[in-house]
Symmetry: none
Subunit: 235 residues, 2 copies
């Protein structure tokens, strides 16, 4: 018997109302007692629903005052989960593919530990250079395990999001990941690619993204010119 719980129903309803703007940002939700009366529930049940909303950051509660609506279903930047395209507050990045996806063996030294399956199936390698306003800003090196991805080496990636392609054509969803950040002095190759001023440091990111496909992780090394832009992330 699939019973839908009362607190869950109220939670979904309030959540929808907040997102669609029935309750405006900054305004107060009906009081707990009003919600009890309206939906014929007891206060613990109503509070359970509100607690869930608080946990998600949809509302703030203040004793003596009420539940304050907090619209921002927080978006996603490079630091939390998604790709790079939305990370620097620029709608479209122009992308050059320096190295089309190719099947390689894994590098000898690799910043992350690989599973047995990943190691033996080889990897798909690609390099990209991404521009904002005609100026190169990102240089990224990507390693994907060679599983689940038929015909990917013959696909065009020019000005398309890698993550978009993975999601749309291969049903790969990013679940989470980990990353290491440093500020480094770039070597000559990076300096030229990103057309850096002498002495301009770059942001260096190594990341592993886990996906909904078991054993399928995305490994990227990113060099970012932070002279004119910042990496922005919210969480």
């Amino acid at each position: 018997m699939e019973q839908i719980h009362q607190y869950r129903k109220l939670y979904e309803l309030l959540r929808k109302h907040i997102i669609t703007g029935v309750y405006e940002e900054g305004s107060l939700l009906p009081s707990e007692n009003e919600l009890c009366a309206t939906y014929s529930m007891t206060r613990p049940t109503v509070r359970h629903a509100l607690d869930t909303l608080v946990k998600e950051g949809m509302i703030l509660k203040q004793q003596g005052k009420g539940s304050i609506v907090r619209k921002p279903p927080r978006n996603i930047g490079i630091l939390s989960i998604s790709g790079t395209a939305s990370a620097i507050g620029v709608r479209y990045l122009q992308t050059d593919i320096l190295q089309k996806p190719e099947i390689h063996s894994w590098p000898e030294v690799f910043p992350f530990e690989l599973s047995e399956q990943e190691r033996e199936s080889g990897c798909i390698y690609m390099e990209r250079l991404r521009y904002v306003d005609e100026v190169p800003v990102f240089y990224d090196v990507n390693h994907l395990p060679n599983i689940y991805l038929p015909r990917i080496t013959s696909r065009s990636f020019e000005n398309k999001s890698l993550f978009e392609i993975l999601r749309k054509h291969y049903q790969v969803e990013i679940l989470g990941g980990e990353q290491k950040l440093k500020a480094i002095k770039p070597d000559e190759k990076i300096r030229q690619l990103l057309r850096l001023q002498p002495d301009q440091p770059v942001l260096h990111i190594e990341r592993k993204l886990t996906t909904n496909k078991a054993g399928f992780n995305i490994y990227s090394t990113i060099y970012f010119n932070s002279e004119k832009h910042s990496i922005f992330g919210s969480f």
Copy 2:
């Protein structure tokens, strides 16, 4: 009358026991009914304490089984949400307070927008220098609005986590935030504080953390020497 609530006491106790290893990682906590009997509380109270631990990721609950200890307060690097202490994979950072918490006015130029309430209540300012293995690694400048924090300027912060104090003594929980990252060439002051090699760049982070207290946000500017360590974040 400053009453400490029962659920809070149980929460702090269990939390301490998990961190110090009284309950091992992967093992089960005593059942809710056992905790009720042991500490003379009712089940809703016990559950409130456990819910708080779940929210922090200290335990996992499984219906029919119990509460599973999840020792690695697994998070949470600087990039996702919590403080800096757990961000670089070091359990304890030594901390020097360069500037004890003081009440200031807000700076003229500030990287984030302030609310009316924040601006008019003034801010609490503090600077810290944090060490790993006797070497300075973090230098951070913090601005908190001067609300909700009685007597904070007379508190000792040496080798204590700012977030720990906020959580324990002021019931401030971090909900989320946003941040901007750059790689920069440090100025002379930063260079000396962090004892940097010439030409060693630093990671520069500006962040705003939102909390469960309405209108109470934490603003930090962080300079990080990434020569020997990386900023690590998982999400």
